[in-house]
């Protein structure tokens, strides 16, 4: 039985010996792509990003670039691990999708260029230094809160209130800064527009039905789905409850319109990724970041869901396109 005593030690030794640094191919650049969670809509950004690289001559198929993709599946500790791993591998650039990934990357590296997509402007992410400058290694395509104004002001245009004032229900996530920011923004907008906002917090998808029903109990005319992780996760529950009560859902994100919301005005996620990809390609070509800076996202679109609009008898203006 003495043999068994040494077994774990032997295993450990073998494990340690078999660890060796991966040989980094010097010839082709390596891109570390960090995704925070899994979502069909958000995934379009990655497609856009790789398409832009391809167009500039960096494709995985032709072995001109190596894109290493990791998804944290909504788990923050995993996200930190992923970014640490990429930084220790010393990738040529980091591509980060959504706010969480971007913030994590900014915290972990000051040298590797970060190309962000589906993320807000640096001051919204609270990553400015003492003198109010954004991190020097942050690039990509970003978005400020103006898009919310547009998507929110659609609602009074399309909907007649049941009572004297339009009442709009909203769910926000207290653990996501951008979600709380959006809520505050909407509250200040609503005052100007003579609209009442009823907002409730939802911090875990398990309570989605309870919180939505509680909102519907307060006689709301419409529901504004603020696109954060909990709303993304539990959207089907929210939709089901709202449909039973004949309350239309508006949002600022095209993917949720595809899943059943009435209309939205917001960035086109594919184009957003494409824009960040163009910048990344420029960097890979010239190997310097001079002349690059975080850009505002360029292409926004107005979309509506024909089935949902028909159900609520909402006539959508002609500059909105139907989602497929």
């Amino acid at each position: 039985m003495k043999f068994f005593k040494y077994l774990p030690i032997t295993f450990l030794l073998i494990a340690i010996v078999s660890c060796k640094p991966k040989p980094k191919s010097v010839t082709i650049p390596v891109v570390g792509f960090v995704d925070a969670f899994e979502d069909a809509t958000i995934a379009q950004a990655r497609t856009g990003f790789t398409d832009a690289l391809k167009k500039e001559g960096f494709s995985e198929a032709k072995k001109t670039v190596q894109i290493e993709y990791s998804n944290a599946q909504g788990n923050i500790p995993t996200l930190t691990q992923i970014v640490n791993h990429f930084v220790s591998e010393n990738v040529d650039l980091l591509a980060t999708c959504t706010t969480l990934s971007t913030v994590t990357a900014i915290q972990k590296t000051k040298t590797i260029p970060i190309f962000a997509m589906v993320a807000p402007v640096p001051e919204r992410m609270k990553v400015l230094d003492a003198s109010g400058k954004a991190p020097a290694n942050l690039f990509g395509a970003v978005e400020d809160l103006n898009y919310i104004d547009t998507s929110f002001t659609i609602i009074p245009k399309l909907l007649k209130p049941k009572g004297a004032k339009l009442v709009i229900g909203m769910i926000y996530n207290q653990s996501e800064p951008q979600s709380t920011d959006a809520l505050n923004r909407i509250k200040s907008l609503a005052e100007k527009q003579n609209v009442t906002i009823v907002a409730l917090p939802l911090n875990s998808s398990a309570d989605a039905q309870l919180v939505t029903q509680s909102l519907l109990n307060k006689n709301i005319d419409a529901f504004f789905a603020n696109p954060d992780n909990t709303v993304f996760a539990a959207f089907e529950t929210i939709l089901k409850s709202c449909n039973q009560k004949n309350v239309p859902i508006f949002t600022s994100e095209a993917g949720l319109v595809q899943r059943g919301a009435v209309a939205a005005f917001g960035a086109d996620i594919y184009q957003w990724g494409y824009q960040a990809g163009e910048q990344a390609a420029y960097f890979l070509k010239n190997h310097k970041t001079d002349g690059l800076a975080p850009q505002m996202v360029k292409i926004r679109k107005r979309v509506y869901n024909p089935a949902a609009a028909k159900k609520y008898n909402i006539t959508v203006p002609s500059d909105f396109e139907a989602v497929k």
């Binding site: 969670f37 899994e38 979502d39 599946q73 909504g74 788990n75 207290q174 907002a199 409730l200 917090p201 875990s204 998808s205 398990a206 309570d207 989605a208 039905q209 309870l210 919180v211 029903q213 509680s214 519907l216 109990n217 993304f232 996760a233 539990a234 959207f235 089907e236 529950t237 939709l239 089901k240 409850s241 039973q244 009560k245 899943r259 059943g260």
Partner: protein
Amino acid sequence: MDFYLTTVTLGLCYAALALGIFISMKIFNIPDITTDGSYTLGGAVTAVMLTHHQSSYVILPAVIIAGGIAGALTGLIHTKLKINALLAGILVMTALYSVNLTIMGRSNIPLSNVASLFSSVQIVADANQNTFWILLLFVVLITFLIGYLLKTDFGIAMRATGNSESMIRALGVNTDRMKITGLALANALTALSGYFFVQSQDFADINMGIGIVIVGLGSVIIAESIINWLRITSVWLSLILVLAGAVVFQLVLAVTLAIGVDPNMLKIVTAVFVLLIVSLPRLSSLRSS
């Protein structure tokens, strides 16, 4: 009215979970943390099989078996490797996270337009009421089975294992096997809760199980305080109180929302509410002594 109906329905979803926690807590004196993982496991298996167009009746045994295996693993680690029950649960729960991700293939599965348990049978026209009645039927059936099981020789041995392990071992009962079976049963019930939840809420999420053990514990603690207060010894009544505890726990949340408490205060008010329910019997007994 719909608001409270959906709340009660949600409470019924958690009823199986509360029974599971009741078994692991009351019968084994083991707070079983595997719950967080096995609940999501039940949900993940359900969501994946539903998207592959399997019938709910085929999914049901699959979910029960999956949860049972998870619980049995915790029991094995605890009894055979002599590892602290809490740690055994944590280990299995942690491992289940990867298992659940592998099963689901992604962190979130939306389930719109798939036939579920609640859409396949039509008792009443209104969808919410329909869900409520079907769930009630299932919960009554489960309670009946568990109640009957606890009344058998096997069940009595199981309960005695929690009360006095050394005595029951002296009587020739294999306590290790009792613990493994009991934990398997408890986690099969928990997975069943995940099965109900996913079908009534139309989505499965990798994080849906985080903190769910608190919901189960809350329900059991509410029930326990009443059981001790009224000195109830009947198994049937205890089980019914546990079910009621699960529903009351959700109603507390709903009432807090309905009152319109400042959102930042929501959690603390809920905690105080539950504390009140649990401490009322104690307070009245303090006064009488």
